[in-house]
C-alpha cells in the first residue's frame, strides 16, 4: 500500500515529464505545486494568477518578502525575467490561451473530459478562485490527482455528479497508477504502472476508456 506522500510524489514526477523547455505553466494548489520539484534542468516558467510570471523557489526561512506570494498564498521568490501585473492582465494571459499548460487537481473527471474540482460535497459554496478560468483558457489541461477518493471511490467517472468546473476541458489525467489522454473526445489509457494490473485499474475507474495499442508500462 502506497503512502499518501508516495502517491503524490509519483503523480508530480510524471506530470513534470509533460513539461518542456520554454513552457509557461500554471500549477494549482496541492499535488500540482509539487511538480515544480521535478523540473530541474528544464527552463519552465511558472505563472501565478495573482500576477506573477516567473515564480521561483520558496524563499529560505527569514528571507520572505511580504509582498511576494503565489496564488496558494505561500511566499515565493522570482526568477530573472519575471514580471508583475494586475489580475485582469493575469487572467487575460490565462483566458487568452497564453499559458501553455495548467496542472490542476480534480475531484471528478468524466469520460467526456468534464471536470469537477471546486465544490467539495457537503461544504458551502464559498470559493471558486481561478480554477474555471485556468481550465477553460489553457491549451493543455492536466489533471493531477490520486486515482480514487480517500474512501476508495472512483474519481474518473462516466458523468460528474459534483458541480462542474468546465465541460470537455481536460486533455490528460495523471494518477499514481495511470495516465489517460483525451483524443477526439474519447478517453484513452496510455500508461499504467508496473505495480497495478489492468484489472485493478478497471476496478477503481468507473469511466469507460479505451486502452491505447501503444500502452506503456511504467516501472515503479
Amino acid at each position: 500500500m502506497l503512502t499518501d506522500e508516495e502517491r503524490k510524489e509519483r503523480i508530480a514526477k510524471r506530470a513534470a515529464e509533460e513539461l518542456a523547455d520554454g513552457m509557461v505553466v500554471n500549477l494549482g494548489v496541492g499535488i500540482p505545486t509539487l511538480v515544480a520539484n521535478y523540473v530541474a534542468g528544464k527552463k519552465v516558467y511558472l505563472q501565478s494568477e495573482n500576477g506573477i510570471l516567473g515564480v521561483g523557489p520558496y524563499p529560505k526561512a527569514g528571507e520572505e518578502d511580504k509582498d511576494l506570494i503565489n496564488a496558494g498564498r505561500k511566499h515565493v521568490t522570482i526568477v530573472p525575467g519575471a514580471s508583475f501585473f494586475d489580475s485582469a492582465q493575469s487572467f487575460g494571459q490565462i483566458r487568452g490561451g497564453h499559458i501553455d499548460c495548467t496542472i490542476i487537481g480534480g475531484l471528478q473527471v468524466s469520460e467526456t473530459g468534464d471536470l469537477a474540482n471546486w465544490l467539495v460535497p457537503g461544504k458551502d459554496v464559498l470559493g471558486v478562485g481561478g480554477a474555471m478560468d485556468l481550465v477553460v483558457g489553457a491549451p493543455k489541461v492536466i489533471i493531477a490527482t490520486q486515482h480514487t477518493t480517500r474512501e476508495g471511490e472512483a474519481k474518473i467517472v462516466p458523468t460528474c455528479t459534483l458541480p462542474l468546473t468546465a465541460k470537455q476541458a481536460v486533455d490528460m489525467i495523471i494518477t499514481e497508477y495511470a495516465v489517460f489522454r483525451f483524443h477526439g473526445g474519447r478517453l484513452i489509457l496510455e500508461e499504467i504502472t508496473s505495480d497495478f494490473s489492468l484489472a485493478d485499474l478497471r476496478s477503481v475507474t468507473t469511466a469507460r476508456y479505451e486502452i491505447s495499442p501503444e500502452l506503456k508500462v511504467r516501472v515503479v
Binding site: G51, I69, S87, A88, F91, R95, V128, G129, M132, G137
Partner: protein, 221 residues
Amino acid sequence: MAAIKSAAEAIAGIASGSRIMFGGFGRVGSPETLIAALAEHPADNLTVICNDLGSHNEGLGVLLLQNKIKKAIGSFFTPNPDAAKYYREGKLEIELIPQGNFAEAIRAAGAGLGGFLTPVGVGTELAKGRDVIHFQGREYILQPPLHADYALIRAKVADTLGNLVYSKSGRNFNPIMATAAKCCIAEVDEIVEAGELSPEEIITPFLYVDILVKRGSNDAD
C-alpha cells in the same frame, strides 16, 4: 488630483449600505490601514467586492465579525472560516464569480463597457442567473460590469497628483479597482512630488485616484 487625508477622514463619508471594493489577494495588497479605520466607523450593511474576505479576524475578516458586511462579491472566500459560518447562519450573502471574470468585470466597469462575453463558467452552476449568448459559433456568459461607490486600494508609492506604483504581487486587483468606483481611496507607504515617478512606470494614472492616505496614519500597522 488627489487630496491627502488621514485614514479616518478619508473614509468619513462612507455611508451604511455602500458598495465598496477592497484590493488585495490575501494580505498582500490589502489596504489594512483603511480597513482598520472602517472598523472604527459606524457604516454597516456594506456590500464588499473583494477577491477574498481575509482570514479569521484579519483583513476584511474584522469587518465581517463586526456584522458590517451584508454581501460579499468575489471569488475565494474559503480561507476565512467565519465566511462559511456567517453564510450558513444567513448573516452573509455571497456572490461567487470565477476569479478572471471577476477581475475583468471590474476592469469593464472602469472602462465604460456594458459587459463582455466570457467562455469561463459556461455549463456550470455559476452560469445560473446569467445571460448566455451564442456568438460567432461559441457559447458565452454575458458578464455585466462590477461598479462600486468606493474603491479602497493599496499601493506602494504615490505622487502628490495621485499617480500610483505598486509592489510585486501587491498589484493584483488594486489597479483595476482604482478605475471602477466613484471614489478611489489609496493607502500608500510613501508620497513623493509629482514628477518623481517615471512616466513609464506609473501603473495607475492620477485621474483615477481621489484620496491618498499614508499607511499607518491610524496606527493600524
